[in-house]
Amino acid sequence: MATDAPQPPGRTDDSPVQPTTEAFIEAQNSAEFAELRRSYRSFAFPLTLGFIAWYLLYVLLSSYAGDFMGTVVVAHFNVAFVFGLAQFATTFLIAWLYSRHASTKLDPKAEAIKSRMEADA
């Protein structure tokens, strides 16, 4: 069960409770776990593709659309500068959105499965 080979005698390490392989397979096939996986993947995967595309758009515009990026917005601030700051803002925003999703939608489900499995083990 452990990540490593069985611990030889004399090893003292933090050894957490380990459910059996059968218990893990059963958990993986449960509706509860399927719901947790769906809730995680359907949020994290599209969001990842989204921010990578948004970043690549920025990189490509910086390389190939210099004139557009140089357009002055106000005073000495141009599109490039605003776009750059927007990347900072979206990074903070996405981190916050994901963390909120994780703590409200994922953590309770994960915690329920974990405590049940560790109690059974």
Partner: protein
């Protein structure tokens, strides 16, 4: 590239103002070294088990680890290099910061929590979880050590450059001595303090770096009555480039190849961070995956704030000091931040001397801390992945494993002192970028497939790790980083047929592709039971260490 990862041309420092301040700089640096050594000894007394040594006892809070992650990530290249690149190339210098920051979302959304839940001490724990242990552990260990050594080398060579810049030491012997000193200190930090000591050193360094940058930012903005537009306008005017200084293109816009190179670099930065072993092992220092998530959030906040401040520092240096004076001191602009510090304190005054000394000491602290983190990552992987699980087949006792880790630290320290001394005048520009490219090509595909793809097999893991590793190293070998240009490692010969300095554009897709093909054509069936364990563990934290 070379502007940020600095260190190239041999710096000629005539009678510079810095040498007068040498005693003050050295005293401040000595204070930092003494304080961190005290922390190390204290942490060493509490380091008993392997979990203490590798993972700091998993007792750090999310905020502490967030600070330490930031400390590990913000190298001297970020501080001196980005400020200098902005000061000389304007907007193009700022482009780096964005890639370095956005990259953290990959770590937050896909890697940090599952890794914390399913691994124990190293990246190899997760990569080898479902696979045949010995081949995959070996591959993970090799890749960890290669990435860390490239990164380490750049920091060591950077230390030599810094010293010549800040202390006015230009003799070869002086630089070698400094590289050796850095090497010995890092061996001491890691062997005595382990992860606990190293984490505290990172935290102290992160606080110093943020405080130094904040102080300078406020002082720069003060000069412009907190009018950022004024700051940008003055910087553009003084740069001699006018409005173009505030637009992309001064550094990367020259040719089609340089544009492609920038795209390649951008991809490597964004995908490399979440595959850097010295960053990944930090997530084992907190008790739960929730705390790992929170520490990434802290890191995003701290690193983001820091990069925003580099805008003020870089444009401030351009506006207040001007490109001529910055280039006179270091052609790549690496002295811009210390020069700005002296200017803000008042050139020729005690205030200026103190500011210069403080900022220089912060830069040294930065190098030392990053180097210690890298050394710990590679010696951990050697001891835990290669020694304990491959050589001893999991039969080593905890004591034996820790002893192996300490000897590995000494060996890695000696090797990097030797390489760092040899590389002190080489263009190490490619090394850090190469570390990111290898991490993105070899480590990230394997981590993601392991965690999320049921059909991934041992053969797939080996193909993606070795394929990503060799293709990126191979492409760099035949790139302008190594030969063919005045800024190359070997400028006198030309065997460069690959035009890009960063291999990421080719090697990252290749790493992903090889992992997929290797699994699909593999004769062996993926281990479904092990995947059930890994998947349930990684998402729920059941049975996590």
């Amino acid at each position: 590239m070379s502007a940020v990862y600095h260190s190239h041309p041999v710096i000629q420092l005539a009678a510079s103002s810095t040498s007068e301040h040498r005693p003050l700089i050295i005293s401040l640096f000595a204070v930092f070294v003494a304080a961190t050594l005290a922390i190390t000894v204290w942490a060493g007394r509490q380091t008993k088990s392997a979990s203490d040594f590798y993972a700091g006892g998993r007792q750090f809070t999310a905020f502490q680890n967030g600070l330490a992650v930031s400390g590990d990530y913000m190298s001297a290249a970020s501080f001196l290099g980005i400020a200098g690149a902005i000061a000389l190339f304007g907007y193009d210098g700022f482009l780096y910061s964005i890639g370095f920051l956005v990259a953290w979302l990959v770590a937050l959304l896909l890697v940090a929590e599952p890794l914390r839940n399913s691994g124990r001490y190293t990246m190899g724990d997760v990569l080898a979880y479902r696979m045949r242990q010995r081949p995959v552990r070996t591959a993970a260990g090799v890749s960890t050590i290669v990435v860390s050594i490239f990164y380490l080398l750049a920091q060591m060579a950077g230390a030599g450059v810094l010293v010549s810049l800040l202390l006015g030491i230009t003799s070869d012997a002086g630089k070698i001595l400094i590289v050796a000193l850095v090497g010995v200190l890092m061996i001491v930090y890691v062997t005595i303090g382990g992860m606990k000591g190293t984490t505290w050193v990172q935290m102290v360094k992160a606080v110093l770096l943020i405080a130094g940058a904040l102080l300078m930012t406020v002082m720069v903005l003060w000069k412009f009555d907190f009018n950022v537009s004024d700051l940008l306008g003055t910087a553009a005017e003084k740069s001699g480039h006018g409005a173009a200084f505030l637009e992309p293109g001064l550094k990367y816009g020259a040719t089609d190849i340089s544009k492609l190179d920038f795209i390649s670099l951008g991809i490597a930065l964004v995908l490399g961070t979440a595959g850097l072993p010295h960053i990944l092992i930090r997530f084992y220092t907190v008790p739960t995956s929730k705390a790992a998530r929170k520490s990434v959030n802290w890191a995003i906040g701290i690193i983001g704030a820091f990069y925003l401040m580099t805008i003020a520092l870089g444009f401030g240096a351009a506006a207040l000091i001007g490109p001529e004076e910055i280039k006179a001191k270091n052609p790549a602009g690496n002295a811009a931040a210390p020069q700005l510090a002296e200017y803000l304190g008042g050139v020729g005054t005690t205030g200026g001397a103190i500011m210069l000394a403080v900022i220089s000491a912060v830069a040294f602290a930065t190098i030392l801390a990053v180097v210690a983190g890298l050394t710990l990552a590679s010696s951990s992987s050697f001891a835990h992945d290669i020694y304990a699980n491959v050589i001893r087949k999991g039969k080593a006792t905890e004591k034996e494993e820790m002893r192996a880790a300490k000897w590995a630290t000494v060996a890695i320290g000696v090797v990097s002192i030797a390489l760092g001394a040899m590389a002190r005048d080489l263009n190490v520009a490619g090394l850090v970028a190469l570390a990111f490219a290898v991490a993105a090509s070899a480590n990230l595909p394997t981590i993601l497939y392991s965690l999320f793809w049921k059909r991934f097999t041992t053969q797939g893991a080996l193909w993606s790790i070795y394929g990503g590793l060799f293709s990126s190293v191979f492409l760099v070998l035949f790139s302008p980083v190594v030969s063919g240009k005045a800024s190359s490692m070997f400028p006198d010969v030309d065997f460069a047929w690959f035009p890009l300095e960063n291999p990421g554009l080719i090697s990252i897709p290749l790493g992903f592709l090889l992992g997929w093909i290797g699994s699909v054509v593999s004769k062996e069936e993926p281990d479904a039971a092990k995947y059930a364990e890994l998947e349930v563990k990684s998402l729920t934290g059941t049975g996590a260490h």
